[in-house]
Amino acid sequence: MSSRIPDTHDIPGTTPFDGSMAQKGYALNKMCFSFNDKANREAFVADPEGYMAQYGLNPQQAEAVRTKQVLALLQAGGNAYYLAKFAGIFGLNMQDIGAQQTGVSKPEFMAKLAAANQQPDWPAARIV
């Protein structure tokens, strides 16, 4: 068996959720995981600061939660799947979140998604 060196190459605008991020974001993600329960979502809404303290969020994480800025939440170690449960509390869907992260309006973000239809078809556009 040959051993493989883990791939670490950079992808612009992308931070893979690896062991480093999983450690950094543990408290934030654990809080978001708790939002699977309605009672917990209500408890957070009733007292966000107390709820964050209960889960031991660090100042960077707590500030990102207060501002609801997704890029800041990601930088603080948030994972997209758990953050989606946080976003759900405020009725934000994936187009709201996509628009916020890419700095455009929601209609502009949706137009960008639809415009992917205009990308050239394979096999004319070779991949590898």
Binding site: N29, F33, D37, K85, Q95, D121
Partner: protein, 283 residues
């Protein structure tokens, strides 16, 4: 012995749950997606599967970062859906097939797949919605399931090659199952999409099209890529195509090949390039 009929695959976007609950299948936004299913419904009526092995990825309903399995095999008599926190309808419980679960577990461990086994396992939209899509007229899909969760939450992910091998071992186990059941394998997720970061909204149509074609004629094509190479080509959530590789790997036993029953590709639903596929095993 059991009969492996073929494989199914579909995207599993949570918003589909809203659309089904509200009856939006013929709305202009949704119709190009839902129109991908009727030819597959007709095929399913002909082949009448009884048990479905579902390769899917949990999105933080059952598994958290405290214990994150790479491969987890369900071994329950019943699988419940639950509140996922983002407001989509909770679907009724699905019937399990513990007999096949334990047969798969025996076979996989004997073949050196060090899996996690779960006698309790909440299944999220990634498992429950595809069953609604493929059996839309039933309150609950008229099949028993064995869910197999593959980690796409935390890197490193299992390699594409390993996932394909897992699928192949599942296919071998189904073929060796002492049962008269008619079995399907199913993959859920994909195709290209990325929810997070400045690259949110990334879609790669040509890659998806080549991947869909590879499912029929060159199934190991995507096993050449590392997890980050898949992210680069398909997006952070496009790595869900690993499920499709597992499904396709399960159909390789015997080498007789597959016939494409139907496929559909549509951009976008939510932030996703959607894919739907049904493959029939050739005798």
């Amino acid at each position: 012995m059991a009969t492996l009929l073929g494989g199914l695959a579909t995207s599993h976007i949570p918003a589909i749950g809203h659309a089904i609950a509200k009856g939006w299948q013929q709305e202009p936004y949704w119709k190009p997606f839902f129109d991908g299913f009727p030819p597959i419904h007709r095929w399913l009526e002909q082949v009448r599967p009884e048990v479905v092995v579902v390769f899917y990825n949990d999105h933080g309903l059952n598994f958290f970062l405290d214990k994150m399995p790479t491969f987890a095999v369900g071994a329950a008599a019943e699988y419940r859906n639950a509140d996922e926190g983002w407001g989509i309808p909770t679907l009724p419980p699905l019937a399990g097939c513990p007999e096949l679960s334990w047969h798969l577990i025996q076979h996989l461990v004997a073949n050196e797949f060090d899996i996690v086994t779960c006698q309790e396992m909440l299944v999220d939209h990634a498992c429950s919605l595809p069953l609604k899509l493929f059996w839309p007229t039933h309150e609950v899909a008229p099949v028993q399931i064995v869910p197999i969760d593959i980690n796409t939450v935390q890197f490193p992910l299992p390699t594409a090659r390993r996932v394909y091998q897992l699928g192949r071992a599942v296919g071998e186990a189904i073929a060796a199952w002492d049962s008269d059941k008619r079995v399907l394998v199913m993959a859920t997720g994909g195709l290209s999409h990325q929810l997070e970061g400045e690259r949110a909204g990334f879609i790669n149509k040509a890659f998806d099209q080549q991947f869909l074609e590879s499912m029929v004629s060159n199934p190991e094509w995507a096993t050449q890529f590392s997890d980050l190479e898949l992210v680069e080509r398909a997006g952070t959530q496009g790595v869900e195509l690993l499920m499709w590789l597992a499904m396709r790997g399960a159909l390789t036993r015997g080498g007789a090949g597959v016939r494409k029953v139907h496929s559909n590709y549509h951009i976008p639903i939510s932030n996703t390039a959607t894919g739907v596929l049904a493959l029939e095993c050739l005798a």
